[in-house]
Amino acid sequence: MISAIVPTLGAAGRLARLLPSVRASLAASGQASEVLVVDDGATLAPVPEGARVVPLDPARGYGPAVNAGARAAAGDLLLVLNDDVRLDPDCVARLAAALPEREVFAVVPAILSPLAGCGDEAGKAGRWRAGWVEIEEAAAGARGPTLYPVGCCFLCRRASFLELGGYDESFSPYFWEDVDLGWRAWRRGLATLRVPEARCHHEGSATIGGFAMEQRLAAWQRNRTLFHLLALADPGRRAACFGALAAQALFDGRPAALGGVAEGLAAFAAGRAPAAGGLDDDEILARSRTA
């Protein structure tokens, strides 16, 4: 059974417009399915047709909302979606067919979006640059690995998701939680694969578009800092990360950016331990690059 999990911040109109494509794609997969709309903030009205609503009051952000949906889901497969995506009818069937039993955490369709420079948000690769992992778009091609399952659409096994601990809720409300999830999966040797023949259409930033630019910059800096401090295992890479953070403190004069870094450091200092064991950092980047 496939459980589609769609967190939303009260976007009833968008859901009414886009959920039918999700239901149709689920139905076309030939598997039993359900749609769980996680009502982040419990403001959703009316309830979308054909969906089970999981209320979250107060609102807790994208990661916690997906986690709540995963806990409430009845399916063994989770189709995680943003509320501003439309699926091609055969999308779910193609994703389900491409998800092997082992060694793959998630499969991601082509995510066609105006946000992506190459037109497809799904392909992501990381490279070291001046102390940090820099995320790059990987152009669409054949089926292959990608660094992380972009949060707006992926299919994974519920058991894998829960074993990984789901999204790390300290990244709430948004940004970098999907990189962190994919990185943790890769650390355990579980790949994320892109399946370009499955297609999803993303309207783009419909959820976080309502936040002010300064707020988004601060959240981005906070979670990038937190990701590196939590995810990197190699002591040399971690030292380089601190060097990059020191450079940012010294030379980036933007108050929102500095505030974000300070918050990231504080979140890490609150009793968190860096990653250990599994694939090393360089290997994760190497394996996750599209061949």
């Binding site: 030292a239 380089a240 601190f242 060097g243 020191a246 450079a247 010294l250």
Partner: protein, 206 residues
């Protein structure tokens, strides 16, 4: 200078160094990694900031050029407006002069009109005098005509009377001739004839 004195950036740096120190990232080979990343990241940030500043500078230059163009445009427009104002002032002065001329002409015309009005009044009075005199003359003429007609009637009456008297005298003379031719024997007839003559005279004497 303490981190607090260096402001928020100093405080963030303090926390970064504290966390790095706690992991031993500032020791041995790791310090080299730290320093290299710091240098590379600093270069990136500064390059980004320079790019941003250059972009902003270019934008400001464009904006400045636009403003200068606008200022030049406004200056040109101002000069044109000043010229137009001068033209309008000149035209105004000319109009004022023309107005003065028209006012003078108007005053002259008013005076002339006053003279004509006075002349008119005088003429009207003279006309009234003439009309009165004419009426009187016409009345005199009518009276004269009436007198003339009356005189003509009298003359006609006199002429008729004269003609009547001539006729009467002629008949009396004829009657007297007949009476003279009568014989003495025909006294009675004479008498009758005389009486008839007397009666005719009597009637004419009334």
């Amino acid at each position: 200078m303490s981190a607090a004195e260096r402001g928020p950036a100093g405080e963030v740096l303090r926390r970064v160094l504290e966390a790095a120190r706690a992991e031993g990232a500032l020791e041995g080979e790791r310090l080299a990694e730290f320093a290299r990343a710091l240098q590379e990241r600093a270069e990136l940030i500064l390059a980004e900031r320079v790019t941003e500043l250059e972009r902003e500078l270019a934008w400001r230059r464009e904006a400045m050029a636009g403003l200068e163009q606008r200022a030049q445009g406004l200056a040109d427009e101002n000069a044109w407006r000043r010229e137009a104002m001068q033209g309008l002032a000149d035209e105004n002065a000319w109009r004022r002069e023309a107005m003065q001329g028209l006012a003078d002409e108007n005053a002259w015309r008013r005076e002339a009109l006053q003279g004509l009005a006075e002349e008119n009044a005088w003429r009207r009075e003279a006309m009234q005098g003439l009309e009165a005199r004419s009426s009187r003359l016409q009345a005199d003429l009518a009276a004269s005509r009436a007198d003339l007609e009356a005189a003509a009637g009298t003359e006609r009456a006199y002429r008729e009377l004269l003609s009547h008297h001539h006729g009467l005298l002629g008949r009396l003379a004829s009657d007297l001739d007949r009476a003279a031719e009568l014989s003495v024997l025909r006294l009675r007839a004479l008498r009758t004839l005389l009486r008839q003559m007397a009666e005719a005279l009597r009637q004419d004497a009334r």
